[in-house]
Symmetry: C2
Subunit: 439 residues, 2 copies
Amino acid sequence: MTGSAALFTDRYELTMVDAALLDGTAHRESLFEAFARRLPDGRRYGIVAGTGRLLELIQRFRFDEAELEWLREHEVVRPATLDWLADYRFTGDIWGYREGEAYFPGSPLLTIQATFAEAVMLETVVLSTLNYDSSVASAAARMVSVALGRPIAEMGSRRTSERAAVAAARAAYIAGFDATSNLEAGRTWGIPTMGTAAHAFTLLHDTEEGAFRAQVEAFGPKTTLLVDTYDITKGVELAVKVAGPELGAVRIDSGDLPTVVAAVREQLDALGAVDTRITVTSDLDEFTIAGLSGAPVDAYGVGTAVVTGSGFPAAGMVFKLVARRDDTGDWVSVAKASTQKASVGGRKNAARRLDSTLTAREELVFVGDGPDGEAEYEADSRLRPLMVQLMTDGEADPAFLGKAGTEAARGHRSAVMQELPVEAFRLGRGEPVIPTTYR
Amino acid sequence: MTGSAALFTDRYELTMVDAALLDGTAHRESLFEAFARRLPDGRRYGIVAGTGRLLELIQRFRFDEAELEWLREHEVVRPATLDWLADYRFTGDIWGYREGEAYFPGSPLLTIQATFAEAVMLETVVLSTLNYDSSVASAAARMVSVALGRPIAEMGSRRTSERAAVAAARAAYIAGFDATSNLEAGRTWGIPTMGTAAHAFTLLHDTEEGAFRAQVEAFGPKTTLLVDTYDITKGVELAVKVAGPELGAVRIDSGDLPTVVAAVREQLDALGAVDTRITVTSDLDEFTIAGLSGAPVDAYGVGTAVVTGSGFPAAGMVFKLVARRDDTGDWVSVAKASTQKASVGGRKNAARRLDSTLTAREELVFVGDGPDGEAEYEADSRLRPLMVQLMTDGEADPAFLGKAGTEAARGHRSAVMQELPVEAFRLGRGEPVIPTTYR
């Protein structure tokens, strides 16, 4: 598997470059835009994620010798194009929504300005990162809002492919999750990691008590003991017997949770373990979390539902050429005419219109104005500009990269949640919570 | 991002090893099993995929200096455990279903025998690969069977995360897809790649004719021209005008496909382009492909639906300790008692019972017999053994690795499809096509 990102690419991107180099159009300056035609069915808002990862992938989007040799051997492009690919590095500009921003149908999430050849090469890597990560973040944000401030951890690595798992942990964290079970996500992105033991650890031991003693011996009484391998009531009793009333937490991974959690809380309190917390982790999603809001749960762990976008594993974003220069140097807006899949051509800028209570009311997309335009905002102080410059001449703004960029995205999402109308947080299906207006 | 697989791991695997090293249970020989409690709702069979990738990941599951340093810094485990991790390499045995095999609820898809510590470390990497890849392969197999022999290409890289895309292309190929758009999948796994141009290529040019001329100039008349950027009828006319009647194919990516395809076929024939093929690629899944069975389509391209498992993006497999030795060296079957998530403890072997027409009738799981047992088969010639040894003393059988392993898996799936009852291929929801019986 390559260390670069250059072959995370659909073949047609290279063949388009090949043909466009031959007729000279490859060098036409172009504007590509990533956007979603709609939100997943019934969702009220989406959360942008993947941007920080994408910028890093674009910065190391180079073809190494082995990759070029494979392309040569398989005659994917002409030899002259291989030389062009060997020198490829992205040198253009990228604007877009901040990572962690809310988005709506038509929001111009990412705009790439470069020659056609430089920009078209990035289609797959742009969409792979934004589609998957935004799908996870959009689902995760809903779970966070129904968790009502209780901590929530991502534990779904086993339900998505091994490297997607690292991206999923990051996207969920940006959306407000507090921790992940995934160690690589901890190392690469600075996300707090958590986890103590599975049922296998109890089954490994001759008795449940033996397993609890081993765990408390290794991690002290503040650890989290998994109490449902055999009988939950006996498990809780044993856990407090072994760790004492200072036991950190018990984890419950099965059963009718509202009932079980209430009983366990009562039992813990009766045993004097009043500060022992209850963590639940049994196939949770936003609906089951909401159903536990009245139960004395202290923390949630979510797996499958968050890493698979809770029913919508791809955010449905597309990447379209919206403008290009012609031979005289003038910009021409372009768009395909298909009725089913219409898109709006032209350079775009975007702002969110807020009312006097600073609540979002409208997603405004200015067509024709570039993402570097500013005049529109000064006229109306209740427009919040949405697009920032992410990359200049091929150099990413370091504020959006790495661990710091991930933390910043998480903070931005938190602030943005404050401006959404409360109807945004209803779990039921509905329309996007604010309309998108083209101007 | 690490080059090894060692941190594609949930933290609790390392903390379990930590505590088990402390009390000595880490060295108990153990048997872990991966299986699915059920198929995705309404599916009749599943297809195992990911095994070849998994074996490669296990072979390079080592902790490098930077990873160990991170674990030390974050005090994930005790220093003594870090030393153990530094020397970690898997030295155990793995049996399992061949990649490409059909599976049913309870099928013992993978069995790992090693010390507890060696085996438990692999839980996340085992499940991430099997769950995702099998999800894609299981969806892809349904699409292949309704495509009725017409070629079908995977083009969904943009709808899943960038590295999952490579795994998805491979899983779809094993399930009978013919090609992928993903270049890295071509390079790493030897899968044929395809693709010519997107709408952006047409929009880049001043006219559609200019775009078609550029493409034919670069790739000759046998190329595939995308004809629906503006008006399909004019696009088809122009395509044949530019490439001549020897035009290889036209691609249609929008519209009401059964109607449009019939009209385009008629138009192509009238223009003398009787050998020009029609490829369709518009949000297809197994249901829309089935709906096109009567239309003159020559090839399909499938994106979102296949890489997201067509509604079931994770196959739901779990990884459980099913047996371990006790202090006297005897094997003890183990299983958690939770009613909701019961699993069957013990060593297992599996065979498929075929009737006299060599049609599968029953998935037999022999509990207590190890995967290396043989006696049961000799007694009844209509039992097809399902488990093979994939890894011996930490060394993978090379027949299951790399490009050759991928081809072999594709061939095996093709053979297995012949033995499934015809009801397996009904698209409607139903029960698993054969029952699973424990003996």
